[in-house]
């Protein structure tokens, strides 16, 4: 085991897959010479050369579309979006072309592309750079959506994503890039679509993913210490495919659920989750399903207030107590 940052874990996954498969290429804005806008790809250009690690112009529709076209020919591009927020200028490529080309061709064409980059608020970069589009992406059949919360998960899931034959959208988090965690020295893969129980408990299930997993674990610790409440934290890790079975198993154990997400509430991932939980485990619920989201407005700039707009341990704690009241 080594202590790696989330950033290093992603980088190691890229380096290992670049080494393993000559069809893998890494492309994006500033991924090469600049060493990555968030230094995720640091050193990769030097190690693998410009054919495998390519700097693109600021041209998301162009280079993402190019990656999709190349993937149809069997290249395996891993495209970096400097921020997932920039997906909006490549929307047609991502959600018309990558998501639909297999279906429209009657299954004749595959699109083994990975698009990765950070998608989060909390860094005071304002409304245009703080989008969390996992709900919008996952609403498109044909794509897979991964949102890892730890270095271990980020590495194992990214390696699986790169080997996947369907388009995979991989949403990282700039706030987590510097967070450290244990990562095995030997190679490992984590299958997409497998949730992870990050903390076991018996009174309440928190279903979450991405950075709110870390915040929920902090809240769970406070709830245990200060309120003697035992919280189970289920990290979805992948939004689509969705490991609903692990969620339902936890619900059947605790009978109370709080869904926490760094999303706006309307049509968010939590809306789908709460629907599925009530549909499939209605008789196991002792209380209405609770939901804690980002406060429903564009991302505010004001640094101390943005903390309050997003999920945070205190907001999660309050929401949990309200459910257990």
């Amino acid at each position: 085991m080594s202590q790696l940052t989330y950033r290093e874990a992603v980088r190691h996954a890229l380096a290992e897959e670049l080494t393993r498969d000559p069809n893998v290429v890494v492309m994006g804005e500033e991924v090469g010479q600049f060493q990555g806008a968030y230094k995720v790809t640091q050193g990769l250009l030097e190690k693998f050369g410009p054919k495998r690690v390519a700097d693109t112009p600021i041209s998301e529709a162009g280079f993402i579309g190019m990656g999709i076209g190349a993937s149809m020919l069997g290249v395996r591009p891993v495209m970096e979006l400097m921020f997932w927020s920039f997906y909006s200028v490549a929307f047609d490529q991502i959600l018309n072309n990558a998501a639909n080309v297999r279906y429209m061709s009657g299954g004749q064409i595959n699109c083994p592309i990975v698009i990765r980059g950070p998608a989060n608020g909390g860094t005071n970069v304002g409304a245009t750079h703080s989008h969390t589009p996992e709900n919008i992406l996952a609403a498109h059949p044909g794509v897979k959506v991964v949102v890892p919360s730890t270095p271990y998960d980020a590495k194992g899931l990214l390696k699986s994503a790169i080997r996947d034959n369907d388009p995979v959208f991989f949403l990282e988090n700039t706030v987590l890039y510097g967070e450290k965690g244990e990562v095995p020295d030997e190679e490992y893969l984590i299958p997409l679509g497998k949730a992870d129980v990050k903390r076991e408990g018996k009174d309440l299930t928190i279903v979450t993913y991405g950075r709110p997993v870390i915040q929920s674990l902090v809240a769970a610790e406070l709830l245990a210490k200060e309120h003697d409440i035992s919280v189970e934290v289920v990290d979805l890790r992948t939004i689509r495919p969705l490991d609903i079975d692990t969620v339902l198993a936890s619900v059947r154990k605790t009978h109370r659920v709080l869904v926490v997400e760094e999303q706006k509430p309307f049509c968010g991932v939590g809306a789908q989750l709460t629907y599925m939980i009530q549909a499939e485990a209605f008789d196991d619920l002792d209380a209405p399903i609770g939901r804690l989201c980002t406060i429903d407005a564009p991302a505010i700039y004001s640094p101390p207030v943005e903390v309050e707009q997003l999920p945070n341990p205190q907001r999660i704690l309050k929401a949990a107590l309200a459910l257990l009241d």
Binding site: K51, G65, I68, G69, G107, P141, R240, P241, D245, Q272
Partner: protein, 369 residues
Amino acid sequence: MSKKPSATIEQKPNASSTSHGKAPINAALTQAQKIELFSQMVRIRRFEERSHRAYTGKNAAGGANIGGFLHLYNGQEAIAVGCCSLMGKHDHVITAYRDHGHAIAVGMDTKALMAELYGKVTGCSKGKGGSMHFFSPERNYWGGHGIVGGQIPLGVGLAYGVKYKGHKGSAMAFMGDGAVNQGAVHEAYNLAALWNLPCIFVIENNGYSMGTSQARSSAGELAKRAEAYGMAWGVCEGHDVYEVRATMDKFLKIAREECKPAVVEIRTYRYRGHSVADPDNTYRTKTEIEDYRRTKDPIQVFQTALIAEGVLTAESAEKIDEAARAEAEAAADFADASPYPTPEDIQKDVYWESDNPDQRTSQGRLFFN
């Protein structure tokens, strides 16, 4: 209503046809190859006319044979046929939604194409794509795409893939004149030029982006925009298959040998509306359409040239036309007799993994019903 080409229609003499016929790429054609080019153009015309009849007519149950949009290629046949006839093993094609001509030109079976229009499971995309989404990866034909200009970055990706794999080949990325103002097209131009990718951007300029004429939609000369990206460019007439081939051959050689992109505008005309259901009389006159048909119909022009060359006779041309009509009719019969996909088919072909469950590595639910 379309009349079959007749040798008696008044023809404007077409000198360019003869001179381009002497270009090396055309002079090298055998008689059989010339007849094949002619035959493909006629087959496209008859296929489109038959699909038009199916679209506007009713099936036995009183419903429509073909739903949605139907963007017909009539008038533009020499472009797809001329360009696709130059394809080698590592040359690829992608286009927008006016995609029937290219599909026939790369050799797809018209039965599977017509069945796709009818929404049948025997269609080339199993009834899941429709008119705008014909694909044949084994023939290097990558669709068939619906959003104006959206396929052009994919075309650059095909060129990138060819170069990445070290092949001497190219991608021909077709678009209409309406696509040249889309941002994605310019991003694609820049990438192809910046990275020296073997992509030929082919603008099939039929004069109208839907119902808006070129004069009302595009500033400047369309292909000349290539200069801003340091790319070569050219313009040619699209009614003369010899000219299309001679022009494209030049740029394709540069693409294959030197990995250089180019923009080629091919001037053409479409006889039908943007889509069949669109009104044709709000932005152009019947006279305009008839004038083009009378003087520049690509099939008629080539037929005249081939008769002059002694490759065809009026009688042999008529036989080719009859065979093309019969083929189109057989395709319609096949489509008509074929079954529709079932509701169980709706969720097939969505994910590679769900179609290959024994090789699946992910877990969890892929579908949410």
